[in-house]
């Protein structure tokens, strides 16, 4: 099988050819010229040097994102144009996975970091488990510990500290966040060496072939980049209050579980748990949508006349807009909500923002449960909304 790998998601332009498992060409440029000027000439050059005709490709693996929006599209349009004539399958590979896969022989956590601007990083966490006593250098298992996202690097480092294992950072975002990494990382860490700390089309091609074998395949028509971020205009339209609320049902469990995974960490419920909870007659979940996207939800359960509030999560792009408060208000509103009695909840002691939100909704702190939370460990505040305090 002949695989062409393409990555133009970041500062580096990269192209590689893998022929029946052999890396026959690997070309990487980190220079000012735009990818539009470099990428196709590079592909042309490696094909010429390896005497390979574009029609002889069996597979095109391309960096699907995240990354520079324009860079991703240069890679995507190039892949599409190459794939169209011969109906060559395109395999989209996460930019972050491909970055991490270069370190597939390192036991521990790998954290790819790309500069996402606006003070954020495109990042994820992978647990690498190389298989020992193997003659295959790429024989390794990669487990996603934190899904790809645009996030504050400080939050990600907290997650790294919670995992408590040695970690390797990789990617062109490291110089941007070097101070933060050095200042906040509490586990043993290091950064990948210069010759493998940028996007590698070779690693991407190998990973793409593995994915293809597992059935991942797109066409020149269906493939589209994964940006992880809406365009600025869409974000602003969302900020203008374009958020709608409705009752969450079992059908919403998949996006709800994804949001919980991204925002609640170890406290996240599984899709199955959320599906069950949304259908229960003693529970009620309300969700917020913006542009057809599930951006927040929260739920309440009636336990013997006392309401237990939980699963409150708001997508980071939609915070500080009163969505959390709106959800909680609706859930505890005696007319609209499920429960007429007192309501209780637990919240991480260090989560000041949530504490303030619940205070505004009428909850008071009545106690602390020491060591209630793990990863990272924290106490829980116990808060109550007493409806009949003065009665």
């Amino acid at each position: 099988m002949r695989v062409l790998g393409i990555d133009s998601s970041g500062l580096v332009a990269a192209a590689a050819l893998v022929d029946d498992g052999r890396l026959t060409a690997d070309y990487r440029i980190d220079h000012k010229k735009t990818h539009s000027q470099t990428l196709l000439p590079m592909i042309s050059e490696i094909m010429r040097m390896s005497e390979c005709d574009p029609g002889s490709l069996d597979l095109i693996a391309v960096a699907a994102g995240p990354g520079s929006f324009t860079g991703l599209r240069i890679g995507a349009s190039t892949a599409k144009g190459l794939a169209y004539d011969g109906d060559i399958p395109i395999v989209p590979v996460s930019t972050l996975e491909a970055l991490a896969w270069q370190l597939c022989d390192n036991e521990g956590i790998v954290c790819p970091v790309m500069d996402a601007r606006r003070g954020q990083a495109y990042t994820a966490l992978y647990r690498m488990q190389p298989v020992w006593k193997s003659t295959d250098g790429a024989d390794s298992v990669m487990i996603e510990e934190l899904s790809p996202r645009a996030a504050d690097m400080g939050d990600v480092i907290e997650r790294i500290n919670a995992l408590g294992e040695r970690t390797i950072f990789i990617g062109d975002g490291i110089p941007v966040f070097a101070q933060l990494i050095a200042g906040k990382t509490e586990v043993p860490y290091r950064c990948a060496p210069p010759w493998r700390n940028r996007q590698s089309a070779a690693a991407l091609a190998y990973l793409g072939e593995r994915k293809y074998m597992k059935g991942v395949s797109e066409t020149a028509d269906t493939f589209a980049p994964v940006y992880l971020r809406a365009s600025q205009a869409e974000r602003e339209a969302g900020e203008a209050g374009n958020v709608t609320y409705r009752r969450m049902t079992a059908k919403d469990a998949a996006p709800a579980a994804a949001l919980e995974r991204d925002t609640l960490g170890r406290e996240a419920w599984s899709e199955a748990q959320l599906k069950e909870a949304a259908d229960r007659s003693d529970s009620m979940y309300i969700m917020a949508e913006s542009g057809g996207r599930h951006v927040a939800h929260a739920g309440i359960r009636d336990v013997c006349g006392i309401g237990e509030l939980g699963n409150v999560c708001v997508h980071p792009d939609f915070r500080r807009r009163g969505i959390g408060r709106e959800l909680v208000s609706r859930l505890i509103n005696p007319g609209e909500g499920l429960c007429e009695g007192d309501v209780t909840l637990e919240v991480r002691y260090k989560n000041e923002a949530a504490f303030m939100l619940y205070r505004k909704c009428g909850f008071e702190e009545e106690g602390v449960r020491p060591g209630f939370y793990a990863d990272p460990s924290d106490d829980a505040r116990i808060m109550w909304l007493r409806r009949h305090r003065d009665a």
């Binding site: 539009s36 324009t70 169209y84 205009a233």
Partner: protein, 358 residues
């Protein structure tokens, strides 16, 4: 001598908010013409959002090209070349078409020709009138461009005049928004103006000293916006149709006056129009009337060929192709691409143009 071989070009256009692909034979015969419009997506933002446009282009590009080839009943093997718009336009949008065209041409081993978007608009007239040959004068007016051009030869242009500020179509969009007529402004103002009195208001027509073919629409736009604001403040009722019609008349008067004067002074016998604003009902009529009064031949593209499309890129690409122009695999998008080397040379330099035209 052997019979002249047909030249078949696949053309791709993605400079703004339309993803388009077409197959054109010999620069004149359109075998297919596919347009995937994003206008409905941008309506709610009141204008084209570049990042959204780019995202839509990457989703639509393969389907458009596939549709164009299938509708034309050809495969890549039947083609002689690939033409693509590489500027001017939105850089992120252009890059999608350029990236796709380049790698498609590379994979299919076809020559690649980069085309100037305005060259495309002007060349739409070659499709409209198969007998049209340079020299002629062409008014190009769209959302992003306003040029008065002397077409010396195929793809060889002398820019007689250009806008100093807003493009004509841009003025339409802004006035439309102020009048609450929505986006896109061209068709909205056109529709509203039909019900209105074009002489209800007298709006200014800018004259630019030392460059009498240049345009300026920002003063006109401001005058309209001031009128609307003033009426709002004083609670005066305004007839939207009258403002639309008077504004439209002010724009069209200037466009027509400049164009026929250019024909007189260059000695051109043919006048044509191009670009999105060429779809305006009043402009089409008034230009036709002015031309017939002076005995000038008047060519104007059908409505579909006025707005962005790939057929026009195929026409322009054909003439670039037979002139021997070829682009490399490093072809880049150029958002501010000038129209040939001549774009900045001409300002009131008529003598030189006339001489060259002989």
């Amino acid at each position: 001598m052997s019979e002249k071989k047909d030249i078949t070009i696949l053309a791709i256009e993605s400079s703004c908010d339309e993803t388009a692909a077409a197959v054109v034979r010999n620069g004149r015969h359109v075998m297919s013409d596919i347009i995937s419009s994003q206008v409905p997506v941008h309506v709610k933002y009141g204008g084209v959002v570049p990042e959204i446009a780019s995202r839509k282009h990457i989703e639509a590009i393969t389907g458009c090209v596939d549709g164009a080839l299938k509708e034309a009943g050809v495969t890549l093997k039947d083609l002689d070349g690939v033409a693509v718009t590489y500027g001017p336009g939105l850089v992120g949008a252009l890059l999608v078409g350029v990236g796709f065209a380049k790698s498609l041409a590379f994979a299919a081993d076809l020559p690649l020709v980069g085309v100037h978007h305005i060259d495309g608009h002007i060349s739409a007239n070659y499709i409209e009138d198969e007998t049209l040959k340079p020299p002629f004068v062409c008014l190009v007016a769209s959302g992003g461009h306003s040029n008065l051009v002397y077409v010396r030869d195929y793809g060889v242009y002398d820019i007689l005049g250009q806008t100093r500020d807003d493009a004509a179509g841009e003025a339409f969009d802004k006035v439309s928004r102020a009048l609450g007529l929505g986006y896109p402004g061209g068709p909205a103002v056109d529709r509203a103006a039909r019900e209105g009195d074009p002489d209800a208001y007298e709006f200014p027509r800018a004259k630019i000293p030392d460059a009498s073919y240049d345009f300026s629409f920002s003063g006109l736009k401001s005058a309209v916006l001031n009128l609307i604001n003033h009426a709002k403040m004083s609670g005066e009722e305004l007839r939207v149709a009258n403002i639309a019609a008077s504004f439209e008349k002010a724009v069209v008067d200037v466009l027509v006056e400049h164009t026929v004067r250019a024909a007189d002074e260059t000695g051109a016998k043919i006048v044509s129009i191009a670009g999105g604003v060429a779809a305006n009902t009043r402009l089409r009529e008034c230009m036709g009337k002015a031309c017939s009064e002076r005995g000038l031949k008047y060519v104007h593209p059908s409505l579909r060929l006025c707005t962005d499309n790939a057929a026009m890129i195929g026409a322009a690409g054909y003439y670039r192709f037979i002139a021997g122009a070829r682009s490399g695999l490093d072809l880049n998008a150029e958002p501010n691409l000038p129209l040939g080397d001549r774009e900045r040379r001409f300002h009131g330099n008529m003598g030189k143009t006339r001489e060259g035209a002989q």
